[in-house]
Point group: C2
């Protein structure tokens, strides 16, 4: 099931951290590394810090965007230094990793780590279905990326040891289908004039949170997008009729 | 209670690992670092990798021997890459850290980490009451030292969160009292001729394992050492009488 798990590092600054993260992954049996726009990669420092995990660096996938890195992924967990987050639920590694193991038994899962300085952006967090916060010293909570990968992967191993297969009642859709829904939703809300009274970015964040909890299936996505299409058509008809009835108003 | 916990790194080769370990400690609220004969310390690489945890490096205690580093410690946990060990019981971090928290509530505790290449020696392992093995990929189990410190300290934090004070039924003695017992025991076994039929090193390892499980109290140490003293005296009397009766035998 670990074969379904990818570690995604976003905009990593120091190549040594990429190597150390690869080593941490390999010690826990994780193999798939995705790098979103790393500053330096490949790099001799990455290889040195990998200390024998250079096969993981060799097969690492370098991506230009987060959506590329999450292609095909049906469950994304985002590491956060915050205990609460507006866009997603936040859990500890101990609470979250059993679910990751469970999800990875049936579909691709991503563990998403942000940059050394500032972590993940709100936009990146919004791609995840769950946030994970490693409990830390409130006065010095800055775990090194490789250290965060190590703790998370360790919890995965422990969770996998007590894994019991469960019958899944829903089949979640891959990342790109969710993004398609959000894009459609945002476009529709613009078109129907909803955003004249609401902050679009903040509202979309809340909607992402809602749907991340709901984990829609393919059929439900189709229904939701059908509703959106109809809503726009109706609105387009209204506009058309209005402009016919009021040819003087532009 | 974390104030009673010291991290002891033995013969660390790379100063960067010392710094990274200090950072890992600080993220989890651990402060006391002991270094047994580090190859390079202090060192700019250690400071660079500490990334803000240089206060821990600044107050680190450099020791010439393990016994110096364990002075005053009543419970020592040794990290090991082995799942079984002749000299001590081995547990996972999850199993062991609740006990560490429990012990640290009343007396000094040490977490002992070996060198990058070869871990802890048998002699060092024999100083511990418990071994801890981090579950890892059997084909690539070499966690970086700082990564091992991070996982262990993380488990400590999680264990501390669900800590319930218990009434202790025994008060274990500090490290140096245990070493005093072992030295006395070994000397006595030599004197009474026990080692003519036994491998001393291996036997002492087994005895250490036994007493590590027993966790003797002060009074019990006194009784044991009293027995040893009497045994030696008795043996000396036997020898004396034997040589009187058999002046021809040397």
């Amino acid at each position: 099931m670990f074969d379904n798990i990818r570690v995604v590092l976003s905009h990593t600054t120091h190549p040594g951290n990429i190597g150390a993260a690869a080593r941490a992954m390999k010690t826990m049996g994780l193999r798939h590394l995705y790098l979103i726009s790393p500053r330096h990669f490949p790099d001799p420092q990455a290889t040195a810090m990998a200390a024998g995990a250079d096969d993981i660096l060799g097969s690492a996938v370098v991506c230009a965007s987060i959506d590329e890195a999450l292609q095909g992924v049906a469950f994304t967990v985002a590491m956060t230094a915050r205990l609460r987050d507006i866009s997603i639920q936040v859990r500890t590694p101990r609470e979250a990793m059993p679910q990751v193991v469970q999800e990875a038994a049936s579909h691709p899962v991503a563990l998403l780590f942000g940059t050394e300085m500032s972590g993940l952006t709100n936009e990146e967090m919004g791609r995840a279905q769950l946030g994970v916060n490693i409990p830390a010293n409130p006065e010095f909570s800055s775990l090194n990326i490789a250290a965060a990968v190590q703790v998370t992967a360790y919890e995965l191993v422990v969770a996998a040891q007590s894994y019991q297969p469960q019958v899944r009642d829903i089949v979640p859709v891959p990342h790109e289908r969710m993004e398609g829904l959000y894009a459609h939703l945002e476009k529709t809300l613009f078109e129907i004039g909803f955003f004249t009274t609401q902050n679009p970015a903040r509202l979309m964040q809340r909607l992402r949170r809602l749907f991340a909890r709901a984990r829609p299936e393919e059929e439900e996505i189709n229904i939701l997008r059908g509703i959106l299409t109809v809503a726009t058509e109706y609105n387009a008809r209204l506009k058309k009729r209005y402009s016919e009835e009021h040819p003087d108003v532009r």
